[in-house]
Each structure stands twice: as structure tokens, then as C-alpha cells.
Symmetry: C2
Amino acid sequence: MVNLLQTRRLQRYRMALLRLKKMGLQKTFSHSLSEETGISAVLIRKDFSQLGIRGRRRGGYNIDRLLEQLKLIFGSEKEQNVILVGLGNIGSALVKYEGYRQGNMNLVAAFDIDPAKRTRRYQVPVYSLENLRDVTDTFDVSVAIMAVPEFSAQETASYLVENGIKGILNFAPVLLKVPDHVLVNNINVMVELERLMYHTGIKQKA
Amino acid sequence: MVNLLQTRRLQRYRMALLRLKKMGLQKTFSHSLSEETGISAVLIRKDFSQLGIRGRRRGGYNIDRLLEQLKLIFGSEKEQNVILVGLGNIGSALVKYEGYRQGNMNLVAAFDIDPAKRTRRYQVPVYSLENLRDVTDTFDVSVAIMAVPEFSAQETASYLVENGIKGILNFAPVLLKVPDHVLVNNINVMVELERLMYHTGIKQKA
DNA sequence: TAGATTGTTAATCGATTAACAATC
DNA sequence: TAGATTGTTAATCGATTAACAATC
């Protein structure tokens, strides 16, 4: 019912709504949200309509109601557990990151092949990958953040999938091969920078 | 001529091609690349055709030639300079990151408002934001990585734009308001995780 | 030659927008 | 009431795919 493009938009709406709420507003209009998000007002109304969120013909949309509906859709009543694999530069930063709770998520464990990493004190326990199944079973984990080096990315991903992981947030600069039922979201700083450079360059020429 | 969707695909092709090359291959076929990238073979042929990259009717595409063409398109003959703003968890990880050179980029400086950060030794010089203009002028920087806290993100972004930045890779969980000529790419771990959870959940139900 | 593969044109599909009716 | 705004249906637009011709 809600596809990938739409999901992204809904997340954008929510960000904007949270901001408006923080500013003390209680209601908003499709054109205001359009201003905030860069998404057209018609599309916003259509999205809301399709999700069964109704506004008032003259009075716009109630921000709290919108946020509640979005919360329902993203189903975050129950805290979701996540694991992190790989404690290099990025992995370490992500362990220290404090925002999981706020997103109703919980980073329950980290994994690294280097035993030295496992003796150091982090915010969460650090295990060997041998213990993966225990952790995923105990905490009902289906999503993993993967911040391992390029050369071991595919192998690690396959191992994660074998052990029940269905979603991977992949920081390694590798196109992972995974079965159809597994979803991979790639985060690649170089690729993002390159695209920024390309498109800002285009505009200079135009 | 090359839009945002297509740019992403081209970057994907390149990743796949680099991998095939590393495996010792010299040529490839649209259906092989399709397998690697998840993009349909027809679309791959159409993309290549549109970019003026020709294959051989029977013999497929030459990997090196493809990579050269892609290199031309992304215009990385000349090293591109980048700056980083904000040396928190993520910022510090990005300073330590070693991949810029490989992508023909150069991280020339970092910025932080905290003077303590500026005395510590990093891989690049760390300045106060007051020195931004000097740096962007000296190194001809038009793209910045922004890893500052949420509360100062908009202010920082505006300041960057005032000082000539045209592309921002934004790690703060904020929808930035920037002029039309500026491009923002957002990286938000929470949002990515949430989407993974949503879509993997969908599939469980289906 | 037959078969495999590219490259292109037409068809389809899906997403977005335009137009406008409903109504507060 | 008039005006603003939502919500929906039809139109448009763009991206992807299907079909097939070209050719190695």
C-alpha cells in the first residue's frame, strides 16, 4: 500500500511536522507543508488522503493527528532492536550515537572480528560474529547496520542473512547480493559527494 | 542531460564495473550488469546508448571503455576539494576516513565552533567558521559535509551558502532551507533504519 | 547460418500535476 | 456570502519495459 517513494515522503512530512510543532503550531496547511518539504501541495493532500488522514476544508490539518497517524504507519509502538556490525571509524561513531531511543529503536549489540575491540568498553556489549544467532534470537533483531571494510562486506552480509537479518543498512562501498526478501539501503559518502559535485557543476554551466 | 535518477544508476554501474574488472574481466553484457546492479538490461542499454557509449552487437561492452566514459561524465579529471563542518561523533569519523583520495576528492579542512576541537590533532587543519571564506576561496570549495547538531544545522547551512557553498551533504536530522541553486543530500541513519524496518515488516505480513 | 546481443521505437506503467467540485 | 482550502478525477508527464529490427 505504501511504496518506497511514498515512504520517503512520509518521513519528510514527519520531520517538517515535528519542526512546526516545536515552533508551537497546532495546525498546518498543505501549502505550508509544501514550503517546508519541497513536495507539492497536491501530492501532500493526495498522500494524506490515501492514508486516510483527513483535513478540514477550511482549517487545514491537525499536526498532532498527522503525527499520530504517521506513527501508526511506521508502527513504532514497540521498540525495535538493531545490531551493528563493524567497529571501525563509522561503526564507532554509530555506537556512540544517542538518537536510537528517540526513534523508538534500541541498539542491543555490536559485533567485530577483532578481539581487541571486544575488550574495550562501548555503550553496548561487543561480541564475536559467532554469537550473532544468539543475539538475533534473544532480541528478535531483523535489521542490522553494517560498517565493515569493503573486502569483507559481501561475506558479512551473507552471514547476516543466513542468521535471519532482513534489512541491512550498508556503509560499505559494495553492491551486496542478497536474496529477494532482504532489503539493503546503502549509505556511501563518496557517492553522495560525487553526485553533489556533479549536479552543482551542471548548474554552474546552465 | 543526466538527471538525478540516471546519475544514481550510473554510479551503480560503475561500482559493478569496478568489481567485475577486479575479478579480471575485460568485457561484460547488459544482462550481466543487470544481474550485478538489479537494474534491467534494457534500461542499462538505453542509459549507455544515451550517453554515447556503444557496445558490440555480439561482444558486449568493454569494461575499461565504460569506466572511462563514466569518469568523463563525472568529470573527476581534476581533484575536487571538500570541507567538513562539525567534529562530533560522525564528523570525527569522516575526518579519519581514508577514501577521499580514491574518489579523486580532497578533504582540505574541517571546522568546529569548539576551540578545544581546534587544538587536537586531526588529519586536516581545524578552523573556526570565521575562516570559512578564506578556505573556500583558497581551495575553490563548493561542496561541504555538514555534521553539526540539529539545533545549529539551519544556521550553519545558511552560513555555508552565504559563503559560496553550492552542495551540502547533511548529516543533521533537519530539512534545510536553502536557495534553489544549492543542492542538499541528506544522510540520516534513523530515517534509513526506520524505512528498513517498515519495508521488511511489510514483507513479513505479505 | 543460427544465435546472441545491442540499440531503438512504440507501448505501458506509474507518478505527478491540473482542473475543479465540495465545503467549511 | 465570498474565499480559502481540501479531496478527487482526469490529464499529463516521465520513466521503464516490450517488441523487434539490426548486426556481429
